[in-house]
Symmetry: C2
Subunit: 113 residues, 2 copies
């Protein structure tokens, strides 16, 4: 529990999501999909530095599982898929922007203690 303005916030739901976000490529994917909208598997792969397909696939499925991303199948030849953030994903990304900005800004300073 965290206290803020007399309110109690349970961090347990956050734990799971933060853990997913902490894994390799995940933050990059969330940032990218938020910037660009809807992208195919290989587009994402190129943009985040060509991870192994199994890793990228795993990360995308994890993002789906926690409700931050969705997968849309486009029936063509060859088959295409399109990944994008859900409303929840977009909202979370928005809330995280100040965190990213601040962490970026303090990384060249000392440890603050």
């Amino acid at each position: 529990m965290i206290e803020s303005n007399g309110r109690q916030i349970c961090i347990y739901p956050s734990q799971k999501v933060i853990r997913v976000l902490g894994k390799q490529y995940t933050l990059l994917i969330v940032g990218l999909l938020g910037n660009r909208g809807e992208l195919g598997f290989n587009d994402i792969a190129r943009a985040v530095g060509r991870p192994r397909a199994n890793l990228l696939s795993q990360r995308l499925r994890e993002l789906e599982e926690v409700g931050l991303a969705r997968r849309r199948i486009i029936q063509q030849r060859p088959v295409r898929v399109a990944y994008s953030l859900t409303d929840a994903g977009l909202q979370l990304r928005k809330l995280l922007i100040p965190v990213f900005e601040w962490l970026e800004s303090v990384q060249n300073n000392d440890k603050g203690g």
Copy 2:
């Protein structure tokens, strides 16, 4: 890179910190120290559910390494230590509150997609 209001934010510094925060007990520790100020090792242990000492020790060192917590040694018999958040830790906790609140609020809803 994340784009926000035409500004480019590098998520790389965040990756490391988010990863630390995602580990077991870490979010709980940050929340606790923010609520209570300065606490001893066993006080923290009790409050976060009595993890194994080696795990708690590891998490506290990681928080020190990324500059979010500090360790103060009080020379007594027996020896005491006092852990607390740094200014950086307090600031980050503050920025994360909206994230925690939001994630808590959506966890009983559907996945948003």
